[in-house]
C-alpha cells in the first residue's frame, strides 16, 4: 500500500480530515499542513475537535481566530472548540434571563441546552462562519479541517421543514432543532456551506482510520453518511501500519498479523476509495520537525518521555478487578468509553471472570460492530453465562412502531406525519436504545448484568432534566416502564452498579474519557474505575517502534491513575485472536 503524501491532494482548497477519536487525524492533518506550507502554500489549519491538541502539537496556544504558527512560514491555525462554542451559545441564550426568571427555571433551560445537538450545531455554526468568510479564506491556498461535521448535522441542516417551518414558526418542525432557532438569520450561509462541502472540486474528505476492524466499520459509516449528502470526493488513510515485524518478538509479530488480518477484511465500500497508509511511529507527533518526518518514514526515538515516573503500585490487574467486583457483589457493571477502545473485550473478560467464580452473569452489548460471537466461540460459552445484543436499528424500528401505534392512534394524516418527523430525529435512537438498556439492567435482580456501552450522559441528563427524577416521573402522564423508573437510582447506587471507563493510553482517548466522566458526574453517577486497555507498557516487546510507544504511554497512565480516578486497571496489549474463551482464562489468571 502506497504511503500517503500531501501532494496527492492536488489543488483542492478545502480538506477535511475525519475519523473517530484516537485514529491520528490531528497528526495527519497537522503533518499535511506543515508539508503543504513547506511546498510554498499558505495554509489555514482549523481544529473542531473538543479534545484538540493543536496547542501540544505546535507548543503554543490557539484561539478561534487564525494565529500564525511559530517557525512554520505560511501556516496559520485556530481551534474551534465545539463545547466552548456550545457553552457560549448557551450563555448567549441563557444569560439575559438570569435574574428575570427564577434560578430553577434558568437551570432547566441550561440543561436542555446541554445536549449533544447543541454542541453539534454550535460547532457547525462556528465553522460556517469561517468557511463563508471569503475575505479570510481567499488569503489561503488550503484550509484544512481536523474533524469534519457528521452526516447527522448536515442532514439536520438540509431538512426542508427545519427551515421553512420551525425557524420561521417556532411551534413546528423536526425536533432537536432548538439550538437552531437562534440562528435562523444564517439560513443562506448554512445552505452555502453545505454546497461548498459537496462540491468535489472544492472539497476533499480524508477519512483516517487505524488498521483494525472496528475503526474500519466507523470509517465506513462516516463515508456512507457523507456520500449520501453529496460529499463524494473521499480518500482513505490507514494510519499506524507496522510495515514489518521483528523476528522472535511475539508482540511485534502478533501486532503485525493482527493489522494484516484486519486489512484483508476491509469493508467493500472503503475498498473503492483511493487508499493510502501512514506508518506506525513510536514518537509523538509533536513539533513541526517530527511532523515533517512522518512523510519520510524516518524512525525517531522518544527520549523525552523516559523521565516520567510511574507509581505502579496503584495499578490493578484485571484479575484483581474481577475479585473486587466479586467480593462487593456488584449487580450491574457498565463498560463505557469511545468506540475502538476495547469496551466489548473488557466487558467480556469481566463477565467470563465472574462466571468462572460461580456467579450467574448476563452479558450484553449495544455496539453495532460487536464481536461477542467472535470473542466467545459458541461451544465454549458457560452454563451460567448468557449473552445478548441490543441492535440499535432494530430497537429504533420497534420503538417507532410502538409510538405510532399508541401515541399516534387516532391522529389524522398531517399530525401523524408531524409525529413521524419527530421520530426521525437523532434523539429517537438514543431513547430507543436506552429503553432496551433499561430492560437489560432490570435483569440484575436475578443475575449480574455486564453491559458493554451505556446510555450517554446526554440521555441521563434528559431523564434527570428537572433534577428530581422521582418527581418528574410521578408528574409525567406517559406510561413509564418500571425498568426505566428503577434505572437511574440503580445506576447512581455504587453498591449496585460499577461504571468502568475504558480508554487507551493515548492523548485523545484519555481526553474523551475525561469528558465522559464529567457527563456522568453531572448525571449523579460516579465512575468506579478506569481501565487502560491495550497497553504496550509492561509488555516484553523488543521491537524498537513498539517499545518506544510503550514508553510514551507512561505519561497517560500516570495522568489517569494519579489525577483522574482512584482505581486504575491496566490490561496489557493482547493479540485479538487470543480472546477466545479458553484464552480468556489464560489472560485473567
Amino acid at each position: 500500500m502506497q504511503n500517503f503524501h500531501p501532494r496527492l491532494l492536488k489543488e483542492t482548497p478545502f480538506l477535511f480530515f475525519t475519523g473517530k477519536g484516537g485514529v491520528g487525524k490531528t497528526s495527519a492533518a497537522c503533518a499535511t499542513a506543515v508539508n503543504l506550507t513547506d511546498q510554498g502554500k499558505k495554509v489555514l489549519l482549523v481544529s473542531t475537535d473538543p479534545a484538540s491538541n493543536l496547542q501540544d502539537v505546535f507548543g503554543m496556544e490557539f484561539s478561534n481566530q487564525p494565529t500564525k504558527v511559530d517557525n512554520v512560514d505560511g501556516l496559520f491555525a485556530c481551534n474551534l472548540d465545539p463545547e466552548e462554542a456550545a457553552k457560549s451559545y448557551r450563555d448567549k441564550v441563557v444569560d439575559p434571563f438570569r435574574g428575570k426568571l427564577p434560578d430553577a427555571v434558568v437551570d432547566q433551560m441550561e440543561e436542555q441546552l446541554s445536549g449533544a445537538c447543541t454542541v453539534e450545531i454550535a460547532a457547525f455554526d462556528e465553522f460556517t462562519n469561517l468557511l463563508t468568510n471569503s475575505e479570510l479564506i481567499s488569503g489561503f491556498d488550503h484550509v484544512i479541517f481536523d474533524t469534519a461535521p457528521t452526516g447527522h448535522t448536515l442532514r439536520l441542516l438540509q431538512l426542508p421543514n427545519a427551515w421553512n417551518g420551525f425557524l420561521e414558526d417556532s411551534t413546528h418542525g423536526a425536533s432537536c432543532l432548538g439550538p437552531l432557532s437562534g440562528l435562523s438569520a444564517k439560513k443562506e450561509l448554512y445552505a452555502n456551506t453545505v454546497k461548498v462541502l459537496s462540491d468535489s472540486s472544492q472539497t476533499k474528505l480524508v477519512l483516517v482510520t487505524r488498521p483494525d476492524s472496528s475503526t474500519f466499520f466507523e470509517a465506513q459509516r462516516a463515508s456512507t453518511e457523507l456520500k449520501e449528502i453529496g460529499i463524494k470526493n473521499q480518500l482513505l488513510i490507514i494510519n499506524g501500519l507496522l510495515k514489518k515485524p521483528i523476528d522472535n518478538d511475539e508482540i511485534s509479530s502478533a501486532f503485525y498479523n493482527r493489522q494484516q488480518k484486519a486489512l484483508k477484511e476491509l469493508p467493500e465500500s472503503l475498498k473503492q476509495l483511493e487508499t493510502y497508509s501512514l506508518p506506525f511511529v513510536s514518537y509523538s507527533l509533536i513539533g513541526s520537525e517530527s511532523l515533517r518526518h512522518l512523510f519520510k518514514s524516518y524512525l525517531l526515538s522518544s527520549s523525552s518521555q523516559e523521565s516520567v515516573e510511574l507509581k505502579s503500585d496503584n495499578l490493578l490487574t484485571l484479575n484483581q478487578t474481577i475479585d473486587d467486583l466479586y467480593v462487593k457483589n456488584t449487580r450491574v457493571i457498565l463498560t463505557m468509553g469511545k468506540g475502538g477502545v476495547g469496551k466489548t473485550t473488557i466487558a467480556s473478560l469481566l463477565a467470563v471472570g465472574l462466571a468462572k467464580k460461580g456467579k450467574k452473569v448476563h452479558l450484553t452489548t449495544t455496539d453495532p460492530a460487536a464481536h461477542l460471537e467472535f470473542v466467545f466461540k459458541d461451544e465454549l460459552v458457560m452454563d451460567n453465562l448468557t449473552i445478548s445484543k441490543i441492535d440499535p436499528s432494530a430497537e429504533v424500528e420497534k420503538y417507532k412502531a410502538e409510538v405510532l401505534l399508541t401515541a399516534g392512534a387516532g391522529l389524522e394524516e398531517d399530525a401523524l406525519r408531524y409525529l413521524e418527523e419527530d421520530l426521525n430525529s437523532p434523539c429517537t435512537e438514543e431513547i430507543a436504545v436506552f429503553r432496551a438498556f433499561a430492560d437489560v439492567v432490570e435483569k440484575s435482580n436475578e443475575e449480574i448484568v455486564v453491559i458493554d456501552t451505556a446510555p450517554t450522559g446526554h440521555t441521563l441528563l434528559l431523564l434527570d432534566a428537572a433534577k428530581s427524577y422521582e418527581k418528574e416521573l410521578s408528574r409525567s402522564t406517559g406510561e413509564i416502564p418500571d425498568a426505566v423508573k428503577n434505572l437511574l437510582p440503580r445506576l447512581r447506587n455504587p453498591e449496585e452498579t460499577s461504571v468502568l471507563i475504558v480508554t487507551l493510553p493515548e492523548a485523545t482517548p484519555v481526553f474523551e474519557a475525561m469528558r465522559l466522566q464529567q457527563d456522568l458526574k453531572r448525571a449523579g453517577i460516579q465512575p468506579k474505575s478506569w481501565v487502560i486497555n491495550q497497553s504496550l507498557y509492561g509488555t516484553e516487546t523488543i521491537d524498537p517502534i513498539l517499545s518506544a510507544k510503550a514508553t510514551s504511554e507512561k505519561v497517560w497512565i500516570k495522568k489517569v491513575s494519579e489525577e483522574l480516578t482512584k482505581q486504575t486497571t491496566i490490561v496489557k496489549w493482547q493479540p485479538e485472536d487470543k480472546l477466545g474463551n479458553i484464552e480468556v482464562e489464560e489472560l485473567i489468571n
Binding site: 441564550v93 441563557v94 434571563f97 428575570k100 426568571l101 427564577p102 430553577a104 427555571v105 432547566q108 433551560m109 440543561e111 436542555q112 441546552l113 445536549g115 426542508p160 421543514n161 421553512n164 417556532s170 411551534t171 413546528h172 423536526a174 425536533s175 432537536c176 432548538g178 432557532s181 409510538v403 399508541t406 401515541a407 399516534g408 387516532g410 391522529l411 389524522e412 394524516e413 398531517d414 399530525a415 406525519r417 408531524y418 409525529l419 418527523e421 419527530d422 421520530l423 430525529s425 434523539c427 429517537t428 438514543e430 431513547i431 436506552f434 429503553r435 434528559l462 431523564l463 432534566a465 428537572a466 408528574r475 409525567s476 402522564t477 406517559g478 406510561e479 413509564i480 416502564p481 426505566v484
Partner: protein
C-alpha cells in the same frame, strides 16, 4: 377571537417522543395545537428552552414562575388569563375555548398545508 397560549417547560421536542418515555399527553397536545393552527385558530405554544423571552415578557407567566418555579409549567393562558398551571389543556377544554366540537380536533384536513419532504 379566543387566544390560547401554552407555556411548555424546556422540551427537546414538542411531541415528547424524545423523552424517556413517550408522553401521550405531549403528543396529544402537539397534534391538537397543530390541527387548530391549521384551521386558523389563534393558539401558540412556547418552549422555555427555545423562547425564554416569552416567559419574561408575559407578566402572568412570569409571576407564576417566580411563585412556583419550573413546576408551574406547563401553564395555559387564555385571553390573558391564567387558566391552567402544571398541566396541559384537555381537548375538551380547547374545544370549549374555541367554540368548536371536540371532534373537530381530529378532522381530516388537506395534506398539502405542510411542506414536509421525506427522503
Amino acid at each position: 377571537m379566543t387566544k390560547v397560549e401554552i407555556f411548555d417547560p424546556a422540551l427537546c421536542c414538542p411531541t415528547g417522543v424524545c423523552g424517556p418515555s413517550v408522553d401521550p399527553e405531549l403528543t396529544r397536545v402537539a397534534a391538537a395545537v397543530f390541527t387548530l393552527e391549521k384551521q386558523g385558530f389563534d393558539i401558540k405554544r412556547y418552549n422555555l428552552g427555545n423562547e425564554p423571552g416569552m416567559f419574561v415578557e408575559n407578566l402572568i407567566i412570569n409571576q407564576v414562575l417566580h411563585e412556583k418555579g419550573p413546576d408551574a409549567l406547563p401553564a395555559v393562558v387564555v385571553n390573558g388569563e391564567m387558566l391552567k398551571v402544571g398541566e396541559y389543556p384537555s381537548n375538551e377544554e380547547l374545544a370549549i375555548w374555541f367554540g368548536i366540537q371536540e371532534s373537530d380536533l381530529k378532522m381530516k384536513k388537506p395534506t398539502n398545508l405542510l411542506d414536509i419532504k421525506f427522503k
